[in-house]
């Protein structure tokens, strides 16, 4: 059979109509490779059938294509990424764009909200920190006060321990000469020889002068130390230890004290 005879036999039409056998198909597929004219003929026949049937009905609604294209990724698993669909499916693109619009609007709203919220929070933070500063300030004031209280309490405690000790004798010193009407007290532990002087009752010493405490031991004055009025807390000033004191006296001496008391400046005196 020549190519022309084969064409005239109607076998190619049967092939397109799908009524050729498997053997005939194999024969034709072989011939298509060696005789391209046969394939051209097949395509021409196919085209005429396609054109004839395409003209036999009204144009298909474009909605059908949209439905089909939309159905592809829905129905088949492992479909390629969306980029190809967007070329053909305007609906999907439109809804995507709509979605982007919503997303942008939503994030903008979120941004504004958080911005305003931030400002409010910042204001709140500012007022909180100034409150905090005030609280801290008053706290330090209170701490200072507490420290003072504690200091005076411990001082009081110390004094009380000294005074309440049965071994300690309290000797009242009476004012004389320039300090007539004044009084002070010496606390002396006869066992340990410790001497304490309460400076809180003394007036300021004259300028450039200092009070000096003397103990009278066996009729002779013995230096018991300088009184320091600047010591505000420790009002019970610990003096030099004295053994066997018969009396105590205070004189006004030059700064740093004297080796021998000047009798004319004696201002306080009391017997044990």
């Amino acid at each position: 059979m020549t190519v022309n005879e084969l064409i005239a036999s109607g076998m190619l039409e049967s092939y397109i109509l799908g009524t050729t056998s498997r053997q005939e198909n194999e024969l034709l597929h072989g011939l298509f490779k060696t005789h391209p004219a046969l394939l051209t003929e097949v395509e021409a026949i196919e085209q005429s059938l396609i054109r004839a049937s395409a003209r036999s009905a009204k144009p298909v609604s474009p909605a059908v294509k949209q439905k089909i294209m939309a159905g592809l990724s829905f129905q088949s698993e492992g479909a390629p990424p969306d980029k190809t669909i967007s070329l053909h499916n305007d609906e999907a693109t439109a809804s995507k764009l709509k979605l982007y619009g919503f997303a942008i609007a939503a994030s903008l709203l979120l941004f504004i909200t958080s911005f305003v919220y931030n400002i409010l929070l910042q204001k709140q933070l500012d007022s909180l920190s100034s409150e905090m500063a005030q609280i801290n300030a008053s706290k330090s004031v209170m701490a200072d006060q507490l420290q003072i209280q504690q200091a005076s309490l411990s001082d009081l405690n110390n004094r009380f321990q000294i005074v309440s000790n049965p071994k300690v004798k309290t000797i009242a010193l009476n004012g004389m000469n320039s300090m007539a009407g004044h009084s002070a007290a010496v606390h002396w532990n006869a066992e340990t020889d410790e001497v304490y002087f309460d400076v809180s009752q003394l007036p300021q010493s004259p300028a450039g002068k200092q009070y000096q405490l003397w103990a009278i031991v066996a009729g002779k004055p013995v230096d018991a130390g300088m009184l320091d009025l600047a010591q505000t807390h420790a009002v019970f000033q610990k003096m030099k230890a004295v053994k066997g004191a018969q009396a105590f006296a205070v004189t006004i001496e030059k700064m740093g004290g004297s080796a021998v008391p000047s009798m004319e400046t004696m201002c306080l005196m009391g017997n044990v």
Binding site: T19, H29, I50, A52, S53, R55, A57, K67
Partner: protein, 183 residues
């Protein structure tokens, strides 16, 4: 940028699930398949439903297509024809089971399939240019998917004659559509 594909390229790309290639396939074959479906179903809306099913089936069972068995168009034509015939069959079944519940449904169904209504106007005009034999043969071979052997039996004609007549009928179609195409 309208890309064109050869049939071989289309087969490879659609096999790789390329939706762009599939859209091209739709653009080139949908109207023809719609013509075939509409000639059998004879209702625009229903035909569109069938067309949609056809292309989704083409996409989903594309791995079933074997180029060794014939042209891509032939394969799609078969799918379209079968789905269209199934649709009219179930429609006729519904109607007939309502009207004549006593009649033999198998017999009625056979009748309904072999008596399709090809009154699509465009096709009619084209087919009118064919003589009666050619028209019947194209009807049976193209729209109803009869094999040429079946046609030979049905029309009581030698197989060779049927083949020649199919060829002649299509040649006439070719001339007619070529003319239309040129206009």
């Amino acid at each position: 940028m309208k890309q064109t594909y050869t049939q071989d390229e289309l087969i490879v790309l659609i096999g790789e699930r390329d939706q762009k290639a599939f859209a091209y396939l739709y653009d080139h074959y949908s109207q023809a398949l719609f013509g075939v479906i509409n000639a059998i179903v004879n209702d625009t809306e229903e035909s569109e439903d069938v067309l949609q099913k056809v292309f989704l089936k083409v996409w989903n069972s594309f791995s079933m297509y074997d180029p060794a068995k014939g042209r891509l168009y032939t394969w799609m034509l078969n799918i379209a024809r079968n789905l269209a015939i199934d649709t009219t069959r179930s429609k006729h079944e519904k109607i007939k089971s309502k009207i004549q519940s006593t009649s033999n449904p198998v017999y009625e169904n056979t009748l309904s399939v072999s008596e399709p209504s090809h009154n699509a106007i465009g096709l009619k005009t084209i087919l009118e240019n064919l003589n009666e034999d050619h028209k019947t043969i194209i009807d049976l071979a193209y729209f109803e998917g009869y094999t040429q052997e079946e046609i030979a039996k049905k029309l009581n004609m030698p197989l060779g004659t049927v083949k020649t007549k199919v060829r002649q009928a299509i040649l006439v179609l070719r001339e007619l559509t070529k003319k239309e195409f040129l206009q």
